[in-house]
Symmetry: C3
Subunit: 154 residues, 3 copies
């Protein structure tokens, strides 16, 4: 069966962007055996909002959840570029969630939920993953969230 | 052979807590092929001490080592929930150690040793892992340490 | 075929250092199935420069790129210790790049390029990896960069 997840994305009103080219001498994904590694994705999309800022300083949790969701959408865009068909995803195994945070910020889980909730909406149980959520001192281009991912594929 | 590691834990005076439920739309572990992924664990236990604080500011290395040990105990609690029997662990492959740190803190390895030493005490050579230890700006709920893990299982 | 990558390193003027012993109760690498996990490597080498500092505060991007390159050289030193022959590397799958950064630093990708570019120079297409690059609050011993790695091996 193919196209099921993409139909679900359409139902959610999500159009996958073109998979972003890496900004340097690395690759956006590797398929090795049945594991798909996706490079850390930023919440940047052509024509999209500017998800820059530091939690606890100048961006709020609601907005940062949208940033995390944008990272997850970019992760799926990379997965589609890697796999051709998102229905080849057997399981999202793991997300690494890096939140641009002030020292006194403590709600990193809520922020990364923006990505976690989206993946479960889009992939169902196959979207349920292990993860970590931590607060980093700064991120590339000043974005609020960076997330990398590992999938098991069929 | 079963129950060997749990007997060792009893000998060490360690009672595994109930595996903590995730605080959001993710899972605490995934078993995929022979790999067991465990979500980032916090040093929180019912009735346990409050391991909050920032290294270099308001928590010392000795206390943070106990926090790292508590993360490792929670990792084993998740592994037991995943595997039923901890003797199915073939090897702890990797720990990711995130230490809540001030910018001038430099002793992250000592802190994460609290987890590394415990895993070797509990699992013997099967507890020896690769790892990283880094200083993050902040962590969920203000805890001092967060650690995730990957195991090879039989 | 053996020795091809080491000949390339010689051509690049790179002599692999002795693989650094871990500073604590962990191991520098694990070979599990066809995956080689390498612990987070620091830019420290006997007789080498002192790559300490915080990006955006007291070390510049050019110097930190050299630090990232030194981390990658230490990663290959560990891979050689693990594999005997670097030609057994099938692919560098993933780098985790932690950059010691001030809150307003935004050029983490440029810093980690020091490692990425070196791995592609040394390993060719087998050196192209997925990665993340994030800014952490502090690192062990005050170094500017820490990088861990995962390889697929033959």
């Amino acid at each position: 069966m193919t196209g099921v997840i993409e139909a679900k994305l359409t139902e959610l009103g999500v159009e996958l962007p073109d998979a972003a080219a890496p900004a340097a001498n690395y690759v956006p994904f590797h398929l090795s055996g049945n594991q798909l590694f996706v490079s850390g994705q930023l919440p940047l999309m052509a024509g999209g909002p500017d998800f820059k800022g530091t939690l606890g300083t100048d961006i709020d949790v609601d907005t940062a959840q949208q940033a995390a969701r944008a990272c997850a959408i970019n992760i799926l865009a990379q997965a589609k570029a890697a796999l051709g068909d998102l229905d080849r995803i057997a399981q999202c195994l793991r997300l690494g969630g890096f939140v641009n945070s002030a020292p006194d910020f403590i709600d990193h889980p809520k922020v990364v939920n923006g990505a976690s909730d989206f993946l479960v909406e889009a992939l169902g149980d196959k979207g349920r993953h292990t993860r970590f959520a931590v607060g980093v001192a700064s991120l590339p281009f000043g974005v609020a969230v960076e997330i990398d991912a590992l999938f098991a594929v069929e």
